[in-house]
């Protein structure tokens, strides 16, 4: 399993001008394995952090280590990082450009210089993971629905078989069913490919259901890093930061006020129902 280590990273936009913004401060993180969620309010530094992972942004100070090697030491490592950490931007369907779905998904692996057979194999596998149906492969991506376009864009990145699949708000703007569909696909991809997944999102409900580890950012710093249970049990702090917690977490604290304590680590409806059930059996 690959590992990305951020060591004492700082990032400053427009350094030395009146518009200077210190976007990241003294970040130390080790990323790798599982599905990692990154949350934080707008302007907390999430997007800058994500751009560091594949060399789109160069730290103002500190190091980005990919399997122990400093990314910025040699130029070829930066190029390699673009393929090793595949970035799916927000609303990636706006970046589709090819005349067919197949060509669009094939763009990344072709750029990697793979053989035609290997490109074909990767395209089909990626389409399967992203739940792009084989019958649309020869159609124009612009004729598809919003949810389908999103999945084609996702397949285009998966086709590069990145060791890290990094997604910025992968489910934004989709209806609840499509959200479950695309996030379920990502979870399955994680399981079958063994590659790490990093999701940036505002949706606490989604994060709670799909992530193994959550990193909370505020004002350019990492202020929480732990399991869903650990992070959501600090719901008051999260709300203080302008973040939301899942509604069911609010319900659990309201229940505690009524004398029904089902724990502070409640963040999915299923878990809450289970805890309520065992609470009632004990009582």
């Amino acid at each position: 399993m690959s590992e990305i280590v951020l060591k004492d990273v700082n990032y400053i936009y427009n350094k030395g001008t009146p518009y200077e913004v210190h976007a990241l401060r003294d970040i130390n993180l080790t990323l790798g394995g599982g599905i990692i969620g990154i949350i934080g309010h707008t302007g907390s530094g999430k997007s800058t952090l994500v751009q560091l992972l594949n060399g789109l942004a160069k730290p103002s100070s500190g190091k980005v280590l990919f399997d122990g090697e400093d990314l910025w030491e040699k130029p070829e490592r930066v190029r390699a990082a673009r393929f090793r950490a595949g970035l799916v931007m927000q609303y990636p369907e706006y970046q589709l450009f090819a005349s067919t779905v197949y060509e669009d998904i094939a763009f990344g692996p072709r750029n990697m210089g793979l053989s035609a057979d290997e490109v074909d194999r990767r395209v089909r596998l990626a389409a399967e993971f992203a739940k792009v149906s084989p019958d649309v492969m020869e159609r124009s991506p612009f004729d598809l629905s919003g949810g389908q376009k999103r999945r084609v864009a996702l397949a285009g990145v998966i086709a590069m078989n990145p060791e890290f699949l990094v997604l910025d708000e992968p489910a934004a703007g989709l209806d609840p069913g499509s959200r479950r569909f695309i996030l379920g696909g990502i979870k399955e991809y994680r399981k079958k490919s063994g590659n790490s997944v990093i999701i940036v999102s505002h949706s606490m409900e989604d994060m709670a259901s799909y992530c193994d580890r959550i990193i909370v950012m505020a004002n350019g710093r990492v202020i929480m890093d732990g399991s869903c249970a650990e992070v959501f049990s600090r719901s008051l702090e999260l709300i203080g930061l302008g973040l939301d917690v899942p509604q069911v977490t609010h319900i659990a604290s309201a229940l505690r006020e009524c004398g029904i304590d089902i724990g502070r680590d409640v963040y999915t409806v299923g878990y809450a129902a289970e805890k309520l059930d065992s609470f009632c059996k004990k009582a």
Binding site: T42, G43, S145, G147, D175, A254, I260
Partner: protein, 292 residues
């Protein structure tokens, strides 16, 4: 009560081009929107929500059926351009992407843009712009550049532009979809304030069930048809039906639904955390009481 909008058996088809077939976006849709009410429209992607919104503000011509806007029929041969302009003067729209609806380089000029197009005298525009910026809480940004604002702030500027034109009915087409939780909260508060205090008729298209639960009435579209409509309490009382339509219910309702299935006597139509907790605690007490 008078109706702002009446829709009867409305169908709409996008004509195909080349090899692509026709796509029917709406089929026999009927509903009414009373003046001053707050209506939410739910539906999966591609269910016809945005087509409906475009028709209601006369950006798209209605297909077959009847659309009546503030008492004026907008369908049939005898509809004049003047009728269409009049309908557009009464029904405004705020779109999803804040970056797609800002046109000026200064906030107050952006808010004034629509009024200028209507040929309103400039002294009157000044008054309306200031009042609209107050309503959305953006007065202190009047001289700022819109592109440096957050998404939620940009949406509030866009809303101010519609308010300044004094629209009686505003359609919000997923206007909160691209915002972070804080931006969403601010925009929702602004929408509710417009509805409660200024009597603006609100139609909110959304994927957020919590937002829909605050409406007077919810209309659920599925495959271009009205799947169900009613108060939030009525619509969310059947979670299975919504899940099948690729939708969801608020987490409070889902938790209560699970409790009900486990044999507890609970209501499902509670959408706030405190109310939900109180209902669960009541049901647990009741069951304990029985055992004793």
């Amino acid at each position: 009560m008078k109706n702002a909008i009446e829709v009867k058996d409305l169908s709409f088809t996008y004509e195909g081009y080349g090899d692509s077939p026709d796509v029917t976006a709406l089929r026999d849709v009927s509903f009414t929107v009373p003046e001053g009410s707050f209506t939410a429209i739910l539906g999966h992607n591609g269910s016809g929500k945005s087509t409906l919104a475009s028709i209601l503000c006369m950006l798209e011509e209605p297909g077959s059926g009847e659309v009546i806007i503030y008492g004026k029929r907008m369908t049939g041969e005898d509809v004049t351009d003047e009728d269409i302009f009049e309908a557009r003067r009464r029904v405004g729209m705020v779109f999803q992407n804040p970056d797609n609806q800002i046109v000026a380089t200064v906030v107050e000029e952006d808010v004034a843009f629509g009024c200028e197009n209507l040929g309103i005298p400039s002294a009157e525009i000044r008054k309306r712009v200031d009042a609209a910026l107050d309503t959305v809480g953006m007065r202190k940004y009047a001289r700022h550049s819109p592109h440096k604002l957050s998404g939620g702030q940009k949406q509030r500027v866009a809303i101010a532009g519609v308010i300044a034109m004094k629209r009686d009915c505003i359609i919000f087409d997923e206007s909160t979809a691209m915002l972070d939780p804080l931006g969403r909260r601010d925009v929702m508060e602004t929408i509710e304030k417009l509805n409660h205090e200024d009597g603006v008729t609100v139609i909110l298209i959304t994927h957020y069930m919590e937002e829909a639960s605050r409406a007077d009435k919810i209309i659920v579209l599925d495959g271009g048809r009205v799947l169900t409509e009613g108060t939030p309490a009525e619509v969310f009382s059947d979670p299975e039906k919504l899940w099948e339509a690729s939708l969801d219910v608020p987490q409070s309702t889902e938790l209560l639904y699970r409790m009900k299935k486990a044999g507890y006597d609970v209501r499902l139509d509670i959408f706030d955390a405190e109310g939900c907790a109180a209902e669960i605690s009541r049901a647990i007490e009741k069951r304990r009481g029985k055992r004793v």
